[in-house]
C-alpha cells in the first residue's frame, strides 16, 4: 500500500511539473487559476487546451499499455509478451489507418472501436502464428512472429498511404506514437474505455494471478482457462486499442513496467496491476516531459523515447530472464 501511495504521489508531482514545462512561462499559481478560475487569457488557454490534455493522454496511455502488458505476460506465461512486441499496437494502428483512408464518414468515436478490432485480431493472429509447432508459444517464436507481423503491417500501411498523401501528413507523428496536440475531446473519448479496462483488470486480478501460474496449475485449481483467456484478451484489446487510438503505437511501456512491478510487488496480480498502472503512467509522463524540457523547440514523439529507453531492457531480459533457453 505504501508503495502505491508513493507511486501515486510521484505521478501527481510529475503531472504538476509537466504543467509548468514548456515554451510559455507559466507558474503553478497560474495553472491553478486556469483550472479553477478560467478567464480565457492566453496562458489559461495554453494550460487547458495544450498541456492538460497532453498530461492526461500520457497518464491514460501509460497506464493502459502497462496493464495490457501485465495481462499478456500473465496469460501467455511469457516474459517477452507485450502489446508492442506482439504486434497488438501495430495491428490497432493499421486498423485505424485503414478506417481513415477507406471509411470517410466514420464518426470520431468509431475509430476507437476500429482500433479494438485491430488490436484483437492482431494479438490473436500473432499468438496463433507464434504457437505453431514444437513447445507452443515460446518467447523466441512469439518475438519473431511479432516482429514479422509488425513489418508486414507497416509495409501495408505505407503502401496504402502512398495513394493518400493527405492522410500521411496528418498521421505522421501519430504513427510513431506521439502525445502532442491531442484535443481534449479525443482524450475524453477514450477515457471511459480505458477506465472500464483498468477496472475489469483489477476486478479479475485473482483469476489473472491463477493464470500466471501456468496452464497446468490453473486447470488443477478448477479454472475455466478458455473463458479467462478470452476475457483477458478482450481486456488487452480494449486497453491497447484505446491507447493506440489516442496516442499511436507506443512500445516497450507494456514490456518494461510489468517486470518492474513484479520486482516491486511480488507475483500477486492484485498488487501487480495497480502498481503497473501507476508505473506506466509515471514512465510515459516522465519520458514525454523530460524531452520537452531538454529540447523545447523540437517535437520528439514519445514512442521514440520509449523505444530508446525500453530496448536495452528487452536485451537485458533476453540475456538474463529467459529460463530454459539459456
Amino acid at each position: 500500500m505504501a508503495g502505491l501511495v508513493v507511486l501515486a504521489s510521484a505521478v501527481v508531482l510529475t503531472a504538476l511539473w509537466a504543467m509548468v514545462v514548456g515554451t510559455s512561462d507559466i507558474g503553478l499559481p497560474d495553472v491553478y487559476r486556469a483550472l479553477f478560475e478560467f478567464d480565457g487569457s492566453r496562458d489559461h488557454i495554453v494550460v487547458t487546451t495544450v498541456r492538460l490534455p497532453r498530461i492526461l493522454a500520457a497518464i491514460l496511455a501509460g497506464a493502459s499499455l502497462a496493464v495490457a502488458g501485465a495481462l499478456m505476460q500473465a496469460v501467455t506465461n511469457n516474459p517477452l509478451a507485450s502489446p508492442g512486441l506482439l504486434g497488438v499496437n501495430a495491428g490497432a494502428a493499421f486498423a485505424v489507418v485503414l478506417a481513415l483512408v477507406f471509411l470517410d464518414d466514420l464518426p470520431a468515436r468509431g475509430y476507437v472501436w476500429v482500433a479494438f478490432a485491430g488490436a484483437g485480431v492482431a494479438g490473436g493472429l500473432v499468438y496463433a502464428i507464434g504457437s505453431i509447432g514444437f513447445g507452443g508459444a515460446t518467447p523466441l517464436k512469439l518475438a519473431l512472429a511479432g516482429a514479422v507481423f509488425s513489418a508486414f503491417v507497416s509495409a501495408m500501411t505505407t503502401s496504402i498511404l502512398i495513394f493518400d498523401a493527405t492522410t500521411i501528413d496528418s498521421i505522421r507523428l501519430w504513427s510513431v506514437g506521439s502525445l502532442a496536440n491531442r484535443p481534449m475531446s479525443n482524450v475524453l473519448g477514450v477515457l471511459p474505455y480505458i477506465v472500464t479496462g483498468l477496472a475489469a483488470a483489477l476486478l479479475f486480478s485473482r483469476q489473472i494471478t491463477t493464470m500466471s501460474l501456468g496452464a497446468d496449475v490453473a486447470r488443477t485449481v478448477g479454472q475455466n482457462l478458455a473463458l479467462w483467456r478470452i476475457v483477458s484478451g478482450a481486456i488487452v484489446a480494449l486497453l491497447a486499442g484505446s491507447a493506440v487510438a489516442m496516442a499511436g503505437p507506443i512500445g516497450f511501456v507494456g514490456l518494461v513496467i510489468p517486470h518492474m512491478a513484479r520486482m516491486l510487488a511480488g507475483s500477486d496480480y492484485r498488487r501487480v496491476i495497480p502498481v503497473s498502472a501507476l508505473g506506466g503512467a509515471l514512465l510515459v509522463l516522465l519520458g514525454d516531459n523530460l524531452l520537452r524540457a531538454v529540447f523545447p523547440e523540437r517535437t520528439i514523439p514519445v514512442g521514440i523515447t520509449m523505444a530508446v529507453l525500453g530496448a536495452p531492457f528487452f536485451v537485458y531480459l533476453a540475456r538474463n530472464r529467459l529460463r530454459g533457453n539459456n
Binding site: 505453431i132 509447432g133 513447445g135 519473431l144 512472429a145 530508446v308 530496448a311 536495452p312
Partner: protein
C-alpha cells in the same frame, strides 16, 4: 543444380528485358538492343533512358538481391535457425543507422562514404549483438532475441536522428531507408561490385566450413573446427555483405529469409550449391519485386522493399507452419 541455374538465369534475363522495356516510355526490343550494343546508332532519349536509368537500376537490383540472399544463407547457417536473417537480426538497421548519421550530420551522400559508414554500423551492430548474447558461448536463441531488441532500438535512434536533420536531407534519406533502387546509377553499381566481389569469393571458399557449422557445435568441433572463431568470421562476412546491400538500396528485408529456403529446396544442403543458387534466386526476387512495384501502380512507385515484405511475411508464417513438428 544445372536445371535450377538455367531456370533462374532465364528468369533474370526475362525480368531484365521486361524491366528495360516497360516504364513511362515503352521501348521495343530492337531499340533496346541498339542502345545497349550500338550506342552510336540510336537516338539520345532512348540511349539515356536505357543506359542511364533502367540498366543501372536493373543491375543494382540484381546485385543487391544476390547479396541479401547470400548474407541470409550465411546467417541462417551460422545461427542454425532457418528464421534468422540479417534484417530481423538488426544488422541491417545498424547499417542504416550509421549511414543516416553520416547523411544527416555531415551532409555527405557519396556512395563510397555511405558504404563505409554502413559497414561500420553493421559491424558494430553485429559485434554488439554477439557480445551481449555471450554467456559462455553465444546461443542462437539469445542472438536472435537480442538482435530483435537492438534492431528496434536502432530504428528508434534513426527516427530520433531524422528529427534533427535538414528536412530535404531527411526526406531523401527516408526514401532510401524505405528500401528502393529507384535512384540507381553506375557509381553505386561500381562501389557495390567492388565491395561484394571479395566477400562473395570468401564466402564461397568457406563453403566447407559452412557445411560443418550447420551441424551442431559439438560435431563441428569434434571434426576439428574452431567453432567460435569460425562463427565470428562468418558474422563478419555476413555484415560486410549486408552493409554493402543496405548502403546501396536501403532496408530490404525478407530476401535473406526467402531465397536461401528456395535454394535449399532445389539444390539440397551443401553450401557450394546453395550459395550460388540463393544468389540467383535473390537476384530474380528483387528484380521481380522492383518491376512489379514500379509498373503496377504507375506513375506512382511502390518501393521494392515494400513489395518484398508483402510477399515475405506470409512466407514466414508458412515456414513456421511447415516446420511445426521440428524444434526451433
Amino acid at each position: 543444380m544445372i536445371r535450377t541455374v538455367t531456370i533462374f538465369a532465364t528468369a533474370i534475363a526475362v525480368l531484365s528485358l521486361t524491366g528495360l522495356m516497360l516504364g513511362d516510355q515503352q521501348i521495343a526490343v530492337p531499340q533496346i538492343a541498339a542502345a545497349v550494343f550500338k550506342p552510336d546508332e540510336s537516338d539520345a532519349v532512348t540511349l539515356m533512358i536505357v543506359r542511364e536509368f533502367r540498366l543501372p537500376r536493373i543491375v543494382l537490383a540484381a546485385i543487391v538481391g544476390a547479396a541479401l540472399a547470400v548474407a541470409g544463407s550465411v546467417s541462417q547457417t551460422v545461427m542454425r535457425n532457418p528464421l534468422a536473417e540479417p534484417g530481423l537480426l538488426g544488422i541491417n538497421s545498424g547499417a542504416a543507422l550509421a549511414a543516416l548519421l553520416v547523411i544527416v550530420f555531415f551532409e555527405r551522400s557519396d556512395p563510397a562514404l555511405v558504404s563505409f559508414s554502413a559497414f561500420a554500423g553493421a559491424l558494430g551492430m553485429a559485434a554488439l549483438i554477439y557480445v551481449l548474447s555471450w554467456r559462455s558461448g553465444a546461443s542462437s536463441i539469445r542472438i536472435i532475441l537480442i538482435g530483435i531488441g537492438l534492431s528496434s532500438m536502432a530504428g528508434a535512434a534513426s527516427s530520433f536522428i531524422s528529427l534533427f536533420g535538414d528536412l530535404t536531407t531527411v526526406q531523401s534519406a527516408q526514401t532510401w531507408l524505405a528500401g528502393s533502387v529507384w535512384n540507381a546509377n553506375w557509381d553505386k553499381v561500381h562501389v557495390l561490385a567492388v565491395w561484394l566481389l571479395p566477400a562473395f569469393i570468401m564466402v564461397l571458399l568457406a563453403h566447407r566450413e559452412l557445411d560443418l557449422m550447420s551441424f551442431d557445435d559439438m560435431s563441428a568441433s569434434g571434426l576439428g573446427m574452431r567453432v567460435q572463431a569460425a562463427r565470428a568470421a562468418m558474422v563478419l562476412l555476413c555484415s560486410l555483405i549486408s552493409a554493402a546491400a543496405v548502403a546501396a538500396a536501403g532496408l530490404i528485408g525478407f530476401v535473406g529469409l526467402i531465397a536461401p529456403h528456395i535454394a535449399r529446396r532445389l539444390t539440397g544442403h551443401r553450401h557450394c550449391r546453395v550459395l550460388p543458387a540463393a544468389a540467383l534466386v535473390g537476384a530474380s526476387l528483387l528484380l521481380g519485386a522492383d518491376l512489379v512495384g514500379r509498373t503496377v501502380i504507375a506513375p506512382a512507385q511502390l518501393p521494392a522493399g515494400l513489395m518484398i515484405v508483402l510477399i515475405g511475411a506470409p512466407f514466414f508464417a508458412f515456414l513456421l507452419w511447415k516446420r511445426r513438428n521440428a524444434r526451433i
